[in-house]
């Protein structure tokens, strides 16, 4: 039998039989422990299962004059439906609101109130940037070598008219609420005293004593509601105060297909939408409406709150 450092020769070393059994037991035990624990780590939920994205009463629908649910396609007339909802409302920023204009060089002789290929591109453009051709990208003269790319990365699809902001928590920027706050910091719109959870976790709920407060149909923005936080993470901390979210396949959202649509307010509306599981301004407020943007100030008030809060 050849000598050498191979397994056979190791196995042939004289070992006490009972010791051998002991060490085998140890090895097996450790392997078993590692196996079970690693299964716990690797088989975590989240990747493939639908995110719990809605909170509220299963038996009601988001039901308003524009139809059940609210992805943009469900609006009567699609994009034009949104336009008619927004026109002359508080989020209509066009300086000559509603007046038709010729669609310049792109379609001469065509009159429109919604879209212009040049200029400020009209009604939707104040929040949704239409794409900019490559020739429109400026190269920074002091940063020619270090700066790559073309965009500030704010829009999920900068090459499409369908450009909407990034989903919250999807990457560097979470933006639904940050976009609302870009006007509602007092510079353009009514000041919204909101507890913007920039860390995103709202884990420290000790500084979340604020409540949304609307009195007699008037804004009382002296009080705040936190936004931009992971609802499911917070709910897990205070399960006696908040309802858990339900997943997107539940009955209430049968009619819902869009990824980034908003929900209209209707008197039967008692369900709150989350965005990738996060609460944002748009969970309760819909900027695409001419009125009732405050949503919570109408008959919804109370009902909207109890969609999430148990008491």
């Amino acid at each position: 039998m050849p000598r050498g450092n191979n397994l056979d020769s190791l196995m042939m070393r004289p070992i006490n039989k009972s010791q051998e059994k002991q060490s085998m037991k140890h090895i097996l035990f450790v392997l078993f422990a590692l196996l079970t624990l690693s299964m716990m780590v690797l088989a975590q939920p989240g990747g493939k299962q639908p995110l719990p994205n809605f909170v509220g009463d299963d038996s009601t629908y988001a039901n308003n004059k524009y139809g059940t649910g609210w992805p943009i396609g469900k609006f009567t007339g699609g994009v034009q439906g949104v336009r008619s909802a927004m026109l002359h409302g508080p989020h209509d920023f066009t300086p000559d609101s509603g007046k038709p204009f010729e669609r310049d060089s792109i379609a001469p002789g065509v009159w429109d109130t919604v879209f212009s290929a040049t200029g400020n591109k009209r009604l939707c453009s104040y929040c949704h940037a239409a794409h900019v051709p490559k020739t429109g990208v400026a190269r920074p003269l002091w940063a020619r070598k270090s700066v790559m790319g073309q965009t500030f990365g704010q829009y999920s699809n900068p090459t499409s008219l369908d450009a909407t902001v990034y989903d919250p928590g999807a990457g560097q920027q979470d933006n639904y609420s940050s976009m609302c706050m870009s006007c509602h910091d007092g510079s353009i719109g009514i000041f919204a005293d909101t507890k913007y959870e920039s860390g995103g976790t709202a884990g420290d709920i000790s500084h979340v004593p604020y409540i949304a407060n609307m009195k007699n149909g008037e804004f009382d923005l002296a009080h705040v509601h936190p936004v931009n936080f992971d609802y499911n993470a917070v709910q897990a901390l205070v399960p006696e105060e908040l309802y858990p979210a339900v997943d997107p396949t539940s009955a209430v959202w049968k009619g819902y297909t869009g990824a980034n649509g908003m929900f209209g307010s209707g008197s039967t509306y008692t369900t709150v939408r989350l965005f990738n599981g996060w609460m944002q301004c748009s969970s309760c407020h819909n900027p695409h409406m001419a009125s009732g943007i405050g949503t919570v100030i109408t008959s919804d008030y109370g009902r909207r709150c109890v969609a999430c809060h148990k008491k």
Binding site: Q22, F93, V132, R139, A143, Q154, S187
Partner: protein, 340 residues
């Protein structure tokens, strides 16, 4: 002996397994230790992050300060939603905070003070602020007028009847010409007044043509007295001469370099470069006076490499740059390097 061995082995394997699962506790690298400069290598750095103003606690030192910090001294003034800032020389800064009011932040005397709490004109809900010749001009959205204060915060006058200026988001001084400009975003007009409060002329009106505004946000004045206005919802900067005549414009809407999404503050450095702060790009872009992009600073961040929804930008004589970082509840300070 064997039993001991097996117990130790058992515990070690558990620890190992737990360690693998929880991962190493990553040491939190404090943001303050990272020196941020822009642009990054291989380009020469031009702008560096300097410091942050949070509030009264910035000056806490010694035992009382430490105790105050530990007990979370509730009475210490901290910025909450800082809106605008102006420099008043000798290390003094006056800041408007939509929730906290008008605040004096004195870096030389190391004191922070809330102003005008018992004043005859309510300073509640302030917006733009500017300082010239010992006078503070505060745009007050609450009472919709401009309050004039002395350096101690005592009201000495006002501009406009109550309701005259529904949203005076910025005030800028043209000191050589003894003049101030008031930007009102709700009326979409800019008003020129003498330092004493006499109305001089109005610039612009609502619209998207040359010389018109759609929710203007801020203004700056160069050494020649030209007026630069951020015309936010026309996504551009418009430049007027000191008589209010429209000269030129630059900028367009977009999310690519050189464009604007929610342009807010504007300021000029000593080389007349134009800095435009953007509340959706979460940065400020630096343009030369001809409107060509030089570089940009910042991104969406809670750290010192960026901002969350910044509102105003101001540059002092030494080319120190101050940004009101509204949703991060702080003022960020940067330095432009001298060209060599």
């Amino acid at each position: 002996m064997n039993k001991l061995f097996s117990i130790i082995f058992f515990l070690l394997s558990i620890c190992l397994a737990l360690g693998l699962i929880t991962g190493c506790g990553s040491s939190r690298q404090t943001q303050q230790e990272i020196r941020y400069v822009w642009p990054e290598l291989p380009d020469s750095p031009r702008v560096a992050y300097l410091s942050t103003f949070y509030g009264e606690d910035d000056f806490s030192s010694g035992i009382s300060g430490v105790v105050g910090k530990l007990s979370g001294d509730a009475s210490a003034i901290r910025f909450d939603r800082p809106f605008d800032i102006c420099t008043a020389g000798e290390g003094r800064f006056y800041i408007t905070d939509v929730n906290e009011g008008v605040i004096l932040y004195d870096t030389k005397k190391e004191k922070v003070q809330a102003l005008g709490e018992k004043s005859v004109i309510s300073l509640k809900d302030p917006r733009g602020i500017a300082f010239a010749r010992g006078r503070l001009y505060v745009g007050v959205a609450g009472s919709k007028k401009i309050a004039i204060l002395d350096e101690d915060g005592v009201v000495v006058g006002a501009i406009g009847r109550e309701g005259r200026f529904p949203n005076p988001v910025d005030i800028v001084c043209d000191t050589p010409r003894h003049r101030i400009y008031i930007v009102d975003s709700k009326l979409s007009e800019v008003y020129a007044y003498s330092e004493n409060g006499d109305s001089l002329f109005t610039v612009g009106k609502r619209g998207d043509g040359d010389g018109q505004f759609n929710f203007p946000q801020s203004a700056a004045v160069d050494t020649a007295g030209n007026l630069y206005v951020v015309d936010s919802f026309n996504f551009r900067v418009e430049i007027f001469d000191s008589t209010g005549k429209f000269l030129r414009k630059f900028g367009s809407q977009g999310d690519v370099y050189g464009t604007f999404s929610r342009p807010k503050g504007i300021a000029l450095d000593s080389h007349q470069n134009i800095y435009v702060l953007d509340g959706m790009h979460q940065n400020f872009q630096i343009f030369n006076n001809a409107g060509e992009l030089l570089m940009f600073v910042g991104r969406y961040s809670t750290g010192n490499n960026g901002f969350i929804n910044p509102v105003s930008i101001v540059i002092d004589r030494d080319n120190k740059i101050y940004v009101t970082d509204n949703l991060n509840s702080r003022i960020q300070v940067f330095q432009l390097f001298e060209e060599n």
